[in-house]
C-alpha cells in the first residue's frame, strides 16, 4: 500500500512540476530552470520546518514566494534570449542553484542532534510528517489538495483570456505585440507563475521524501518538467497529468525490471510524440474526439 501511496505522491509532485513549465511553454519559452526553482522551494520549505520549526503550510507558502521572486528576476534577462539560448541560460541558472545547495552548510544543534543542510552530504532530517504523526494517507491527501488547486487555477486560466493571450505570445510575438499585447509583462508573469508552482511542488517534495540531495535537482529533472506538458499537450492541464502518470507510473515504475534501459524508451517516446502528435497527446483533435465520445 505504501508503495502505491508513494507512487501517487510522486505523480502529484511531478504533475505540479510539469504544470510549472506549462504556462511558460504556452508563451513559447523553453526553460530548463524549473529544476532550479524546484530545488529552491525544497530547501526553503525544509529549512523553515526543520531549523525554524514552522508549520508546513506557511513554510510551503514562503517557499512558493521565494521561488516565484527568483523566477521573476530570471524572467527579465530571459526576455533577451530565445530558443536554444534560453535553454542554455536556464540550464546555467539551474546548475548554479544546485551548486549553491551543494555547498550550503547550515548545521544547528537541537536536543543534542545536529540538523540542517550539510553540503555534499545532503539534508536528511526533514521529519515534519512523522514528528507530527501524519499517516501516509494524510500526506497524500495534503499533497493532492495542492495539485488539484493548481490544476484548477490553470484550467481556469486556459478558459479565460489569460490563456488566449499566453498562447498568442507563444504563437507569434511580433503579431502579439502588434495587437497590443505587452510581451514583457506576459513573459515575466508566466515565468513568475511557473516559479510559484515549482516552489510549492519543491516544498512538498522535500517533506515527502524526508531527505534532499543535490543529485535530485540535475538537468534531468528540468527535462522531465518540460517533457510532461510537451507530451501531454498545451491545450489543457489533464494532458500533463496523463503524461506524468504514463512516464512515472508506467515507464519508471512499471518497467523497472528493464533497469536503466527504460530511459531509452523515454527518449523514444518524445521522438515519436514529436512526429505523430507535435501539439501533444491532448491536442485539439484528441479533445474533439473525446468530446464526441462523451456526447454519444
Amino acid at each position: 500500500m505504501d508503495f502505491y501511496l508513494n507512487l501517487i505522491n510522486t505523480i502529484g509532485i511531478h504533475t505540479m512540476l510539469g504544470l510549472s513549465a506549462y504556462l511558460l511553454l504556452q508563451t513559447g519559452q523553453l526553460s530548463l530552470a524549473q529544476a532550479g526553482f524546484f530545488a529552491v522551494g525544497s530547501y526553503t520549505a525544509a529549512i523553515l520546518t526543520v531549523i525554524f520549526q514552522w508549520n508546513i503550510i506557511p513554510s510551503v507558502l514562503v517557499a512558493m514566494l521565494v521561488s516565484g521572486f527568483l523566477a521573476f528576476l530570471v524572467g527579465f534577462p530571459a526576455l533577451r534570449v530565445k530558443g536554444l539560448m534560453l535553454v542554455v541560460a536556464t540550464i546555467a541558472f539551474s546548475e548554479f542553484v544546485r551548486m549553491f545547495f551543494y555547498n550550503l552548510k547550515w548545521r544547528v544543534t537541537r536536543n543534542g542532534e545536529e540538523i540542517g543542510p550539510d553540503g555534499t552530504m545532503g539534508f536528511a532530517e526533514i521529519r515534519y510528517f512523522s514528528d507530527n504523526g501524519w499517516s501516509n494517507f494524510e500526506v497524500t491527501l495534503f499533497l493532492w489538495s495542492f495539485v488539484i488547486l493548481i490544476m484548477g487555477v490553470i484550467w481556469w486560466s486556459d478558459q479565460s483570456r489569460t490563456g488566449a493571450v499566453l498562447r498568442a505570445v507563444g504563437e507569434d510575438e511580433l503579431a502579439a505585440s502588434s495587437v497590443g499585447i505587452n510581451l514583457t509583462v506576459v513573459k515575466v508573469s508566466a515565468m513568475t507563475a511557473g516559479g510559484f508552482i515549482a516552489g510549492i511542488s519543491g516544498g512538498l517534495y522535500a517533506h515527502q521524501v524526508t531527505s534532499l540531495d543535490h543529485h535530485s535537482f540535475t538537468v534531468l529533472l528540468g527535462t522531465f518538467a518540460i517533457a510532461y506538458p510537451i507530451l501531454g499537450g498545451l491545450s489543457n492541464v489533464f494532458g500533463t497529468l496523463v503524461a506524468v502518470i504514463f512516464i512515472q507510473g508506467l515507464l519508471v515504475e512499471g518497467l523497472r525490471f528493464l533497469g536503466d534501459w527504460r530511459m531509452i524508451l523515454f527518449g523514444l517516446l518524445i521522438v515519436l510524440a514529436m512526429n505523430f502528435k507535435p501539439l501533444g497527446l491532448f491536442d485539439k483533435q484528441t479533445m474533439d474526439l473525446i468530446k464526441k465520445a462523451i456526447r454519444v
Binding site: S160, R161, A164, V165, R167, L174, S177, S178, G180
Partner: protein
C-alpha cells in the same frame, strides 16, 4: 494626423530610409509605392515601433512616438497588417479576434469576470461584427491555420480592425490575390475609410493603389521622389524613371 519628420533608418551601411518626410491627413487613404527595396516595409516598421529610426521623429496626433514600444502605439490607435500574414495559427478564428479586441480599452459596464471568459455581450457582438465583415461567420471555431489564403488575409484585416485603430497600416494586403479578391479588398478599404479610419496602403498592385487612394507617395532608395494624387503620379517622369529605368521623354 501622422507626420514623418526627416526619418532615417540605417542598417549598417544600408540606408533603408533617408531623411524621409511624409504627412498623412485624417480620414484619407494614403498610398505608398516604390520599387522593391525602396524602404516601404521599413517605413511601416518604423511607424509601428518595431524599428526605432536612426534619426528623425514619428509624430502621431501631435505626440512624438520615439520611445513608445509597439503595443503602446497600438493603444494610441496605430494598427497594422503584415506583408506575410501573421495570425495566431493554433488559436481559433474567434480567439484571434478576441485577443486583439481585449488588448485595447476595457468596457466598464459589465463585470470583469464576465469579460475575462469572453462572455461579455458587448465584446461578443463586436467580434461577431468583425466575423461578418470578414465573411468568416461560420468558421469562428476553426483554427486560423485551417483557413485558405484569402480567408487568412481577411482575418488578419479583421484582427487589426478589432483593436479599433484610427490609423491602419496595410503592408501589401493584395499580395497573392486574384482579381476578384482585389476588387473585394478595394470595397473593404473604402468601407473602413467610411468608418473614419485613416489608412496607409503600401502596395505593388497598381490597379488597387490607383483606384482607391486619395494621395500617393513614391519612394525610391529610401527617399520620396514624388507625391500627389493618382493622376499626377501616373504622369510623373521621376516615377516612370524609377520603375522603368527611363522616362518616355528620353
Amino acid at each position: 494626423m501622422l507626420k514623418i519628420q526627416s526619418i532615417s533608418k540605417h542598417f549598417g551601411g544600408v540606408k533603408a530610409l533617408n531623411e524621409l518626410d511624409l504627412e498623412v491627413e485624417e480620414g484619407e487613404i494614403y498610398g505608398v509605392i516604390g520599387p522593391n527595396g525602396s524602404g516601404k516595409s521599413t517605413l511601416v516598421n518604423v511607424i509601428c515601433g518595431i524599428f526605432l529610426p536612426t534619426e528623425g521623429d514619428v509624430i502621431f496626433e501631435g505626440q512624438i512616438l520615439s520611445e513608445n514600444p509597439t503595443h503602446q502605439r497600438l493603444k494610441k490607435g496605430i494598427a497594422r497588417t503584415f506583408q506575410n500574414i501573421r495570425l495566431f495559427p493554433n488559436l481559433t478564428v474567434w480567439q484571434n479576434l478576441w485577443v486583439a479586441r481585449n488588448s485595447v480599452e476595457d468596457i466598464k459596464t459589465e463585470s470583469s469576470f464576465y469579460r475575462w471568459f469572453g462572455k461579455s455581450s458587448i465584446v461578443k457582438k463586436e467580434i461577431e461584427k468583425m466575423l461578418e465583415f470578414s465573411n468568416l461567420g461560420n468558421r469562428a471555431d476553426e483554427l486560423a491555420s485551417s483557413l485558405a489564403f484569402g480567408e487568412q488575409r481577411r482575418l488578419e484585416l479583421a484582427r487589426a480592425l478589432a483593436t479599433k485603430p484610427r490609423l491602419l497600416l496595410l503592408d501589401e494586403p493584395a499580395a497573392g490575390m486574384n482579381k476578384d479578391e482585389i476588387r473585394d479588398l478595394d470595397g473593404r478599404i473604402r468601407s473602413m475609410q467610411l468608418q473614419g479610419i485613416t489608412i496607409i496602403l503600401i502596395e505593388h498592385v497598381m490597379e488597387l493603389v490607383m483606384g482607391v487612394t486619395d494621395r500617393i507617395a513614391v519612394l525610391n532608395f529610401g527617399s520620396k521622389i514624388a507625391e500627389g494624387n493618382p493622376q499626377e503620379i501616373q504622369n510623373n517622369d521621376a516615377v516612370q524613371e524609377a520603375y522603368l529605368g527611363y522616362s518616355e521623354d528620353d
